[in-house]
């Protein structure tokens, strides 16, 4: 597990450096993600200790953004004032997004229907 964590921290650090000095509009961890992804594709396999750490993170990913999300208490008056606008925006947008993505796949991919 430690070996996996070391790899992740290494790529994260590399990503932060590149974000600071080269691609300043990209968040460091995203650059780290792309680097790690390229490394995995180059090697063609994931070693077990890396998979262990990654699966742990993805299982409890939600926990990690609780501290930041609790900051919503600071925005409550603003959110209340514009609740109608925000709720409409969020609901309509999610419906349109799912519809758009789904219809494009349906139209672009006509394969023989397999009835099961």
């Amino acid at each position: 597990m430690i070996a996996g964590l070391v790899q992740i921290l290494f790529f994260q650090g590399l990503g932060e450096l590149i974000s600071k000095f080269v691609f300043t509009t990209l968040p460091g961890p995203v650059i780290g993600l792309v680097l790690l992804l390229s490394w995995l594709m180059l090697r063609g396999k994931i070693d077990p200790s890396l998979a262990l750490v990654a699966d742990g993170f993805s299982q409890y990913l939600g926990l990690l953004f609780v501290p930041a999300a609790v900051g919503v208490v600071l925005f409550l008056p603003q959110l209340k004032e514009h609740a109608g606008a925000l709720i409409s925006a969020l609901v309509v947008s999610v419906v349109l997004t799912i519809t758009t993505s789904a219809l494009i796949l349906k139209l672009m991919h006509r394969e023989p229907k397999k009835d099961a």
Binding site: M41, L61, G62, P67, V70, I98, H109
Partner: protein, 242 residues
């Protein structure tokens, strides 16, 4: 007298250490997970949403300012970056699904992503929401850890972004089934991918509970949207907010 004084002392001692904030955060999330399992994984009982409400109530009752809470809970927050990097693993696994379907998937993602931003920002602006709030909507369909990174880069509150991302995830997980049925979508991979584009990880876990194929494609959509969003969203944001 003596006793109450010592309780105050203990309280003062504890509130200066990260222990309380960490305890509240983990305990609230544990309760959230428990309720989520008890509700047979109903998306409304989202563990993150439950944890956020519980923590907010508890720090309000303890009269603990948000800053003090965050100072303690930042140890959890710090791991977000590492968790983002580790998303490479599910994406790597998902890429094996790409095969001949790469082109439709990429076009579906790009159009879905654009519709997500333009519709949300357009509607909220038209209905009079202020700029700070609207800013939080740009990366709402991107998985929360990456969405927060994008928000920081473009000078927008990561908090609002995370909250809108979680709400979007919950809405997508609840509504997707009805929308996709109404559209007559039959193949699992198409259904899964559309859910993942709109409602990232929360949608993906919903998709997994229905069909592993839909889940795999939803995770792939989430990963691709994360990478593409990080590249394109700052650019779109500056284009709209010149």
């Amino acid at each position: 007298m003596r006793e109450s004084a010592s309780i105050v002392e203990i309280w003062v001692y504890l509130s200066g250490s990260p222990l309380i904030a960490l305890f509240i955060t983990l305990a609230a999330y544990q309760i959230g997970l428990w309720l989520y399992q008890r509700s047979a994984q109903n998306p409304i009982a989202n563990p993150v949403a439950i944890a956020v409400v519980l923590v907010s109530v508890v720090i309000e009752l303890l009269q603990m300012p948000y800053r003090t809470y965050f100072e303690g809970a930042q140890f959890v927050h710090f791991l977000l970056g590492s968790a983002t990097v580790s998303l490479a693993i599910p994406i790597y696994r998902g890429i094996q699904h790409l095969q001949s379907r790469a082109l439709p998937l990429i076009i579906s993602l790009v159009c879905g992503g654009l519709v997500s931003i333009l519709s949300a920002v357009g509607i909220a602006t038209a209905l009079g929401a202020d700029k700070t709030l609207v800013g939080g909507l740009y990366s709402k369909s991107v998985t929360a850890p990456i969405a927060m990174g994008i928000a920081e880069q473009i000078g927008i509150s990561p908090t609002l972004t995370a909250v809108f991302a979680v709400v979007t995830g919950i809405l997508g997980a609840i509504l997707a089934r009805f929308i996709l049925d109404a559209l007559g979508m039959q193949s699992w991979w198409q259904r899964g991918f559309a859910i993942g584009v709109a409602s990232h990880g929360i949608g993906a876990s919903r998709a997994f509970s229905v069909s592993p194929e839909a889940g795999a494609y939803a995770s792939l959509a989430m990963g691709m949207h994360g990478i593409l969003g990080a590249i394109a969203i700052p650019w779109i944001f500056h284009l709209i907010n010149r």
